[in-house]
């Protein structure tokens, strides 16, 4: 199969916090459920990981509707972390993921420190969980989440408490809604985080001029999509040059080229968010796009994707 020199299979594998990934591509939490719905459209075994939607100890109702609004090159959402709670998540969603040859990263949210710690402790005992991603960055809930992610001291403290309990590597998901994201990234690292992921959505607002009211019932929502990609690339670059732990980059990745940009900016892996809403096969196209790029550039390993200066 390798007799033609431009026909070869580049190695997309990468290891993050001791966990081997077959490729660096995964869904962004909240844009993929627990994978069951999308498994009718794509082969989950091809993904580097499945990242599940934020789960909390007890079920959460989420926000009133409308929860979504399209904007130019993006979308606002204010789902409000609706989730079925840990019991049903473990029984149904984690069980569904048992059969797949891909990593499982569970995104964890909570109203209080105690809720985060309880969820982390329980998920630590689940064999199917490979890593935990701590959501301290959702802008759409009034208690918890982002309240823990904006203040470096609070974030470092929560991270260190989670690290003491967790038997799984811990990723801290960072918000871009701060004046200097490298401060919160360093706080996560100081607290013992094994990796950081960024960016969560940028807080925004849309007003319906005909109805003369807010497009979202929550008034504000998180902006995602290609509109935020350059902001995300800049922040991934800044953070990956400020901390020594791996960075998972996300924000408006629509295709292989966008993903390569994230990798060049310093990310070790890439998450794909609302691109899946635009095309259920987006994650696969991103993997193939990275492969095509590496072949075009004669790169053999993912680590060859580096900036020239």
């Amino acid at each position: 199969m390798n007799n033609s020199k431009d026909k070869y299979s580049p190695d997309l594998s990468v290891t993050i916090a001791g966990v081997p990934f077959k490729n660096p591509v995964m869904p962004a939490s909240g844009c993929f459920g627990s994978g069951q719905e999308y498994s009718e459209y794509i082969d989950l075994n091809r993904l580097g990981a499945v990242v599940t939607k934020g789960v909390s100890v007890t079920p959460w109702e989420g926000n009133p509707v409308p929860r979504t609004a399209e904007t130019c090159g993006g979308m606002l959402n204010a789902i409000g972390l609706q989730n079925p709670g840990l019991d049903l998540f473990i029984e149904r969603d984690l069980s569904f993921l048992q059969g797949f040859d891909t990593n499982v990263i569970v995104n964890v949210c909570g109203h209080t420190e105690a809720e985060y710690l309880e969820a982390v402790e329980r998920l630590s005992d689940e064999d199917r969980v490979d890593m935990l991603e701590i959501n301290v960055s959702c802008p759409n809930v009034t208690k918890g989440a982002i309240a823990f992610g904006k203040d470096p001291a609070v974030l470092e403290d929560l991270t260190s408490k989670i690290k003491k309990l967790s038997k799984k590597p811990v990723i801290i998901k960072l918000t871009p809604n701060v004046s200097d994201i490298t401060e919160t990234a360093r706080a996560a690292e100081q607290g013992g985080a094994d990796a950081v992921s960024l960016i969560n959505t940028l807080m925004g607002m849309k007003i319906d001029i005909d109805r003369r009211t807010f497009a979202l019932a929550n008034k504000t929502g998180g902006l995602s999509g290609p509109a935020i990609h350059p902001v995300a690339v800049r922040m991934v670059y800044e953070v990956s040059h400020s901390v020594s732990i791996p960075v998972i980059g996300m924000g408006g990745v629509m295709n292989g080229a966008d993903a390569v940009e994230m990798l060049l900016a310093g990310a070790s892996a890439v998450a794909v968010g609302c691109a899946s809403f635009n095309d259920p096969e987006a994650l696969i196209f991103v993997i193939e796009g990275i492969e095509d790029y590496m072949i075009r550039k004669g790169m053999k390993n993912l680590s060859d994707i580096t900036l020239l200066q």
Partner: protein
């Protein structure tokens, strides 16, 4: 594996101001009344697909009647014969297919197209009554409802039929809905609320097709939820997903506050 499809437009004409009737060449689609398709704009600045209800579906033609409501549907309205667009579906549950003794279709505005498809299917097996609400005398699709059902009309401006809403039609002539009828409704939220109240108070079986802002259309993003009267088994809270658990719900299973 399921996937998006590319469909060729065979016809796309304005049948009433802002209302378009589009026919797409498809093969072997089996869409039920009440189900919908996601239509993609193909424009990178408009990320999200638009959910459009099925107005008819045969072996080789998918018919979608839609209203231009924004930039996405405006793009669709400009598609010409032989141009293509990406679609995905059919999605959602659709109306229950079992024919009742007497079916009453209650619709308003752009809620009418899916009811026409339902009426076509049901009229082969039972008697069908249609109560249709319009803004004014521009009665789009009414001639097609006439062919399959006994039709009563209301208009907001009183220019034709009963002056008022579909509920005024029912108040004027309660005999339109004999005991044992099953109601099938689709239309604006205030109409659905009124129909729901009426059905619950009269003890009639009633199915409502809901509309809500969607992103994925596959039950993943949890954008398009509606309040349920008891805990939903999937969400584990009192929210159901309109895109996959609906869009059709039994009236007593949802709260329309």
């Amino acid at each position: 594996m399921k996937e998006k499809m590319i469909a060729k437009v065979t016809e796309n004409k304005e049948i009433s101001p802002g209302i378009y009737d589009m026919r797409l060449e498809t093969r072997g689609l089996n869409a039920s009344p009440g189900q919908f398709f996601m239509l993609y704009t193909g424009d990178g600045s408009r990320l999200l697909p638009r959910p459009i209800s099925v107005c008819d579906c045969t072996d080789d033609i998918l018919r979608l009647v839609y209203r231009v409501a924004g930039s996405g549907t405006s793009l669709f309205s400009r598609l010409k014969k032989d141009e293509t667009l990406e679609i995905m579906g059919p999605l959602g549950n659709g109306y229950p297919p079992e024919p009742p003794e007497n079916a009453v279709l209650i619709g308003g505005g752009i809620g009418l197209p899916p009811l026409l498809y339902l009426g076509k299917k049901l009229s082969a097996c039972c008697s069908v009554t249609s109560i249709l609400g319009y803004r004014n005398s521009d009665l789009f699709l009414k001639d097609e409802f006439d062919r399959i059902s006994k039709v009563s009309v209301s208009t907001d401006d009183g220019s034709l039929g009963v002056h008022g809403t579909v509920m005024d039609v029912i108040k004027n002539d309660p005999s339109l809905i004999p005991q044992g009828s099953v109601l099938y409704a689709c239309g604006p939220l205030p109409m659905l609320r009124a129909v729901r109240e009426y059905a619950l108070s009269e003890g009639l079986k009633c199915y409502l097709s809901l509309e809500e802002r969607m992103a994925c259309g596959l039950g993943v993003c949890l954008s398009c939820v509606c309040k349920t009267s008891s805990t939903d088994p999937h969400s584990n809270v009192d929210n159901a997903r309109v895109c996959v658990d609906g869009p059709v719900f039994a009236a007593d299973k949802v709260e329309l506050n």
